[in-house]
Subunit: 419 residues, 2 copies
């Protein structure tokens, strides 16, 4: 079965807006078991839309379109679809009721313009838009030029309207039409180990995975996501199989797994601190406030995060974090004694349960033979102890800051859980 | 003249990698005066490549391809191009010398595999790849099925290799082939005013722009970029015209213009502080370290940034920033007196020339009737005074943090420049 995506919108062709819709749609369709063969981006231009539909329906069985179905003049996808299917726009009661529901939920009266939006091509079925007034359209038809039915789905170009519509009902309907098998995914989030080292360590686990379960490595800077995908006649047994494999994996790499299904470390840590009623502060040198920023990007973080001292100069390390000037002189700012003092002292000064401290050389300048760019010390202070570790990251300033922050948050997570 | 882009790569169709190449290429081509009519993304599949080329060459005059020209087995674009043009791969001396130059510059010997990469379709000219070993290819040919010549350009899919190649020589060569006019762009960076207010204020300026100069609004959260594009027989006079229009604009909105051509506020502020030999610290409540993070994301920021106190709790505001407990009690943390004290005191404690302080309700919780979510106070302390301002941003936590940071950096910029 061939699937393709057509995104309509002049704004995409100017390059001002990156077409994130296509990648998101392809990922969701892939997760649901539908491989996408082609994306096409065209402008709000009748001739180009018609030509794309002509080409697409000869090679593909499912054609998903986005864009050009709004109420303004430059939105011409609906007209082009009428022309392609040799049909006409008619008022559709179901589409109207969907639109009405949207307004009623928001306590706004329906206008004539909105009523006009309930006009859709006669041969299609409307798809409810939970987040907007443009109705989606589902065409399912035999075509003269080819065998078998073709499904055309037209959705809004606004990402959050399209996303809600694709998630439900489009993908479930496609699964119902085309699939006999259930597909189950689970993503395991790991931090602190590179893709190649990780694959070495878990090689034998990977090899023993049942034939119906496959593994994909999805690396990001500082994080590797492991996605297990299982198939089977029904969902429940596959879900259980995957859960069993995760139990086995946890025994092999307990220290690297921090969460599941795209949870972030700052969410996980926030959840743990909230559950325990514990508090946190950070003392940051090389991360320059980035850890505090990650933590405070989570709503409700004021419940457990008291604050931070960003000590970018030695003077601030001495005055605000009570770091011993002799430690700085003898070992340098990027050293175990200094980072330990930073963690210990911020914990005491801010009167918190847990503290993170970082000191390193983010780059591009500041490296020496002994301490090259990418050298980082991290310390975690808990109610019972202070631990510290040295890391060698790379040469890229932005990545060094990011990797230091993720490493520090994962060390904190482990310190909270394992004491 | 019609231009289209074909991106080849299985990884793009899975949705794991967002096709940023197409948007970047379209923007660059647009800036150079070439409108793009279509993007197509296909997999590393001979049949799909051939079909795309077949369709493209009938409707477009310039076809830019990326991807699938590496040395591995799944890179089949070169073979598909040979088949499409009914030609064969031959060793190309110029391509070989380009590859050799790449290795010589890096002090690495050329291998047989690299020699193999100098084999390109007989009818094309090689395009030097400054950042890799895959040669670009330029086909310029009459086609039996249509009138006029068609240009096909095949480039690597690796973004930084493609970008260097498109910038030089591809776009200059296209301009030489197709354009008689010079095109000049200048982007004016503004902060602190929304797109619609801005367009009202500068309406009469916009109207008096010469006919050969056009204006585009490019809004981002907290920032609106104004891009002037001018055309003329030669570059110099157009450049001067644009400079004159910018002088006029500066008189209308001096307080909102902070820079040009995609400079960031943290870069501008860093440059000013460095030039003056001045120092900076921040006291952050609602921004939670984000301002410190922006500042320290700039290499060399340790030269002027001493650090920050992120005071997420009142306790830290009192203990580490010496905020008067009575101010907190009487006015609340989100108030002018508190933010003024924060700025004044961090400046003194950290012994710096300039200081930023922020206190606000980022949301989604914490709002009241009197101080709704999005209410923010910002203060700037300079060697001679403390200024403070109240802002009402929106309901989105992430955007409130971002907008507060940008506003604070621009206030600091103005305080540094205008005293």
């Amino acid at each position: 079965m061939k699937v393709e995506i057509i995104n309509v919108g002049d704004e995409l062709l100017i390059g001002q807006v990156i077409n994130t819709n296509a990648a998101w749609m392809a990922e969701q369709l892939n997760l649901a078991g539908f491989m996408v063969n082609q994306f096409t981006v065209i402008g709000d231009n009748r001739q180009e839309i018609l030509e794309s539909l002509e080409n697409a329906h000869l090679r593909s069985d499912i054609i998903l379109m986005t864009g050009g179905i709004g109420p303004t003049k430059d939105d011409i996808t609906k007209d082009a679809l009428c022309q392609f299917f040799r049909t006409r726009l008619v008022f559709n009661q179901e589409a109207y009721e969907n639109i009405e529901r949207f307004f009623i939920l928001r306590g706004i009266p329906v206008t004539n313009l909105n009523r006009k939006q309930a006009e859709i091509p006669e041969i299609c079925n409307p798809i409810a838009n939970k987040n907007g007034t443009a109705s989606g359209m589902w065409f399912e038809t035999e075509m003269a030029e080819r065998e078998g039915k073709v499904i055309f789905i037209s959705m809004p170009g606004v990402p959050f309207e399209m996303k809600a519509m694709l998630t439900d009902p489009v993908i479930p309907l496609l699964k119902k039409s085309f699939q006999s098998q259930a597909i189950v995914h689970r993503t395991i989030m790991t931090q602190g180990i590179g893709e190649s080292f990780l694959s070495d360590i878990i090689e034998s686990w990977e090899k023993q995975l049942p034939g119906n379960i496959s593994l994909a490595y999805l690396p990001q800077p500082g994080i590797v996501r492991l996605r297990l995908t299982g198939t089977g006649p029904t969902e429940e047994p596959v879900r259980n199989q995957i859960a069993e494999e995760i139990v086995k994996l946890k025994k092999i790499i307990p220290e690297y797994i921090y969460g599941f299904d795209d949870e972030s470390l700052e969410e996980i840590v926030g959840g743990l601190l909230t559950a325990m009623g514990s508090t946190l502060a950070t003392a940051e040198s090389c991360t320059g406030g980035y850890i505090a920023h990650l933590i405070t990007s989570i709503p409700g973080s004021s419940g457990y995060f008291k604050g931070s001292v960003v000590a970018y100069s030695n003077e601030v390390k001495e005055n605000e974090l009570d770091v011993n000037p002799e430690s700085l002189l003898k070992f340098g700012a990027v050293s175990e004694p200094v980072v330990r003092e930073m963690a210990t002292n911020i914990r005491r000064r801010f009167n918190v349960d847990f503290a993170i401290a970082t000191s390193g050389i983010a780059g591009p300048a500041g490296g020496t033979a002994e301490k090259p760019v990418g050298t980082v010390w991290i310390a975690i202070a808990t109610p019972t102890k202070v631990i510290a570790g040295k890391y060698l990251f790379g040469e890229n300033r932005e990545r060094n800051i990011r990797r230091t922050a993720l490493q520090a948050l994962n060390l904190l997570r482990k310190a909270i859980i394992y004491g």
